[in-house]
Symmetry: C2
Subunit: 257 residues, 2 copies
Amino acid sequence: MNDERPLILISNDDGYKARGVNFLAELLAPIADVIVMAPDGGRSGMGCAITSKDPVYYSLVSEREGLTIYKCSGTPVDCIKMALHEVTYRQPDMIIGGINHGDNSGVNVHYSGTMGIVIEGCMKGIPSVGFSLDNHSPEADFEPLRPYILQIVRKVLEQGLPQGTCLNVNFPATPLYEGVKVCRMAQGEWTQEWEERPHPRGGSYFWLVGSFCLRDEHPADADRPNLTEGFVTVTPIQIDMTDYRLMEEIATNWNLG
Amino acid sequence: MNDERPLILISNDDGYKARGVNFLAELLAPIADVIVMAPDGGRSGMGCAITSKDPVYYSLVSEREGLTIYKCSGTPVDCIKMALHEVTYRQPDMIIGGINHGDNSGVNVHYSGTMGIVIEGCMKGIPSVGFSLDNHSPEADFEPLRPYILQIVRKVLEQGLPQGTCLNVNFPATPLYEGVKVCRMAQGEWTQEWEERPHPRGGSYFWLVGSFCLRDEHPADADRPNLTEGFVTVTPIQIDMTDYRLMEEIATNWNLG
């Protein structure tokens, strides 16, 4: 290992075999020592979940100069915790989640395993960024992301990020980008979320489905609508979720005693 | 059902048999129609996780005038989505997570299934509150929480909460409370997170353990230290995680093109 090269830790929520994470690792291996610790299978929608009741395992998948890949039986956040505890030879200079197969814009950050990785990295005091492509196809083309990812990673390696803040970067489904926009987290909610099916042995089971409805008063600078319009969106996300305005209001007017 | 009574939807992450959720349901049944949809077993540390790859089931556990209890095979957030889709006869006036066996103060909100419930409720536009007791003992005494919970629930039913903000309420381990304090989300991180054990058939497995280290520059109004000192802490939590300051900084100085 070369201590003059930056050390980058990568994980994802689609599993270590997914094309997105492997594209990202190969893209960054020329400019950094890259360690991948990714789930041993798909872990979509896990948010910041951690494994509390089961034992967690990890093992080496492959190793070559500058790129080492591990798989882990836990959640995406477990992967980061495990890598930092077990396999990084020093504090990484950066932690990256992705490239996710599917977007993680707007309030979907709360459900996102990719952003769980990034939030975990940020809580550890390490500059952290998530990359997601708004395209679920297993044949999705990651090539157009290349210059944008390299630019953002170089920028973050150079100057870091403020303590307690990370980045959520989303790429449009089709590669003719309109440009890059720095955005807010779009607000909205999911509707029609369950599809009921009769079980062959009686009763019903349900699949989580649904569609995302934007309900945002300022869509001009919200990430989801800009992503749909073809912009690469960069949304700074902070760990501190305190609503300081309501804090004052409650302290002043609620008489909680 | 009486449409003049408020409708309150409750879930938790300790499962429908846990004492905390049943104490809460019995406490509120005299003042509201209460529907519980809780996981069929423990789901601690699930954060905002949703079930994307497995079918989800729910079934009726018990029913009496004003209190109906269901169990669900999904995550805490799944429980809220399922209840709203399947069993609430109208939009609930309030959604409550808890009472959790164990605290959910500070940045642990990100890992908390209890707060996942509350964040989900908030995203649906329903006033939502999480209650947690900083005591993991199965014999923990919930009685001292009674007047505080009733006061906060009545207040929220009366005047609602701002769109996009929910409450995280934590109770000290011992019942001689110093008072109530409106707080910020304490910042910090977990350290020494894994305990390695030899597997009887070779290799190792790991248990997620660790201890939480407060790293907060303003502990005077942060929830975790106040909780430790005996205060009931009320922390307003917002869904929008955007760091608006960094947003401006990146847009102005990063030249992302």
